[in-house]
C-alpha cells in the first residue's frame, strides 16, 4: 500500500477546519471568562428561588 502526496485541497480544507475549531475554542474561553466576571461582580445575586432554599 502506498500513500500518495496530500492533495492541495485537503490542506485548504484543513485550514478551514482549523479556523472553525479555533473560533469555537475562542468562544468557549470567552463564555468562561464572561461567566467568571459576572459571577464575581459585586452586583451578582443568586436567583430568588435558590436564596429561599438556603434560608
Amino acid at each position: 500500500m502506498s500513500f500518495k502526496p496530500q492533495h492541495e485541497l485537503h490542506q485548504r480544507r484543513f485550514g478551514r477546519n482549523l479556523g472553525v475549531g479555533l473560533s469555537l475554542a475562542g468562544f468557549v474561553v470567552l463564555v468562561l471568562a464572561l461567566t467568571i466576571v459576572k459571577v464575581t461582580s459585586d452586583d451578582f445575586k443568586l436567583p430568588k428561588i435558590q436564596t429561599l432554599e438556603q434560608n
Binding site: 485548504r12 478551514r16 464572561l34
Partner: protein, 324 residues
C-alpha cells in the same frame, strides 16, 4: 465484486474521490470571513468602541471586549445576509464581483445560513453579556440593514443610501447602551454624525464608479436624478454635516480637542464639496475624477478623526482634562 466494493459501493480511486467530494474552487476559511465584510466591520468596531468608552460609566474590560466583539459579529452577519440577497447585482458591479458568492467560492445559501446563525448568536450573547436593550438595538440594526435597506429600499429609491446610512450609524449607540443600559442625547449625536456623513461619502463614490451602479440597475441618485443633482446634494449634505459636527463639540462628548479637529476637517470637507459642486462632467473626465476621488478618501479620514477626537476627549477625562 471485491469486499471493499460490497461494503463501500462502487470502488473509488483518489481521482474520483476528489472529483465527487472536493470542488476545485472550494472556499477557504478566509472566504467565509470575507462574507462578514471585514472593512465595514472595522468601522463598526471603532465607532462602537468610541460609543462604549465615551459613556460616563466604567465597564469591565472583559464585558467591554465581549460587547464590541458581538456588535462586530452582528455587523458582519448583516453583511453576509446582504451578500446573500445582493448576489445578483454583486456579480455585475466591478467593485463587488470579487466577493465570495459572485466569485463562485461560496453558495448563496451558505451565506444565508452563516448570516442567520451569527445574527442570532450575536444578539443573544450581547444581551447576556451587557443588557437586553443593547441586544434589542443590535437586533433592530441587523433587521434595518438587511430588510429595510438591502431588501426594500436599495432597489426602489435613490434615497437608499440616506436611509440605509442609519444602519451604519447605530454601532456607537449600541456601544453606549451596552455600557450604560440607558439612553441619552450624546450617542444620538454620534449616530447623526455617521448618518449625515454617509450620503456625501457614497455619492462621491457613485460619481467616479458611475458605470457600476448603472449596469446593476441600482437607483443611485447619479442614475435617477443626474450627476449635476448629485453634486448639489453632496454640497448640501456637507453643509448640514459641518453644522452638526462642529455643534457636537459643545455637547457632553465634545471638548477643545474635538472642536479643533472638527473645525479643520470640516473646512477641508466643505472645500472639497464646493469644488465638486463647481465642476462639470468635462472637468471630471479630464482628470479622471481626481477631486471626487480625493473627497472620498478625505471622507474616510473625516469620520475616523471625528470619532478619534471623541475618544481622546473621553480618555482625557480621568486626568481632569477633556470636555469643557
Amino acid at each position: 465484486m471485491t469486499r471493499s466494493q460490497k461494503t463501500n459501493g462502487p470502488k473509488m480511486s483518489d481521482a474520483s474521490l476528489h472529483a465527487s467530494t472536493l470542488r476545485e474552487d472550494e472556499a477557504s476559511f478566509g472566504d467565509y470571513f470575507a462574507l462578514l465584510k471585514p472593512r465595514v466591520m472595522s468601522l463598526v468596531v471603532f465607532t462602537a468602541l468610541v460609543g462604549l468608552l465615551a459613556a460616563p460609566v466604567a465597564v469591565h474590560p472583559v464585558i467591554g471586549f465581549c460587547a464590541i466583539l458581538f456588535i462586530a459579529i452582528g455587523g458582519g452577519a448583516s453583511g453576509a445576509l446582504n451578500m446573500w440577497w445582493d448576489a445578483d447585482i454583486d456579480k455585475v458591479m466591478k467593485r463587488t464581483k470579487g466577493r465570495p458568492i459572485p466569485a463562485g467560492k461560496v453558495e448563496a445559501g451558505e451565506a444565508l445560513s452563516l448570516g442567520l446563525a451569527l445574527s442570532g448568536m450575536s444578539v443573544i450573547m450581547l444581551a447576556l453579556a451587557t443588557n437586553l436593550m443593547a441586544g434589542a438595538f443590535l437586533a433592530f440594526t441587523i433587521f434595518f440593514y438587511v430588510v429595510v435597506y438591502t431588501m426594500w429600499l436599495k432597489r426602489v429609491t435613490p434615497q437608499n443610501i440616506v436611509i440605509g446610512g442609519a444602519a451604519g450609524a447605530f454601532p456607537p449607540v449600541i456601544g453606549w447602551i451596552a455600557a450604560t443600559g440607558t439612553m441619552s442625547v450624546e450617542p444620538w449625536l454620534m449616530f447623526a454624525l455617521t448618518f449625515v456623513w454617509t450620503p456625501p461619502h457614497f455619492w462621491a463614490l457613485a460619481l467616479f464608479m458611475r458605470n457600476d451602479y448603472d449596469d446593476a440597475g441600482v437607483p443611485m441618485l447619479t442614475v435617477t436624478h443626474g450627476r449635476r443633482t448629485t453634486r448639489v446634494h453632496i454640497l448640501v449634505y456637507t453643509i448640514l454635516l459641518a453644522i452638526l459636527a462642529v455643534g457636537t463639540a459643545f455637547s457632553g462628548i465634545g471638548g477643545p480637542v474635538y472642536l479643533a479637529v472638527s473645525l479643520v476637517l470640516n473646512a477641508m470637507f466643505l472645500h472639497g464639496a464646493w469644488k465638486i459642486w463647481r465642476r462639470d462632467e468635462d472637468d471630471s473626465e479630464a482628470d479622471n475624477f481626481k477631486v471626487e476621488r480625493s473627497f472620498f478618501k478625505l471622507s474616510l479620514l473625516y469620520l475616523f478623526l471625528h470619532f478619534g477626537a471623541i475618544l481622546t476627549e473621553a480618555l482625557l477625562k480621568p486626568f481632569g482634562l477633556g470636555g469643557w
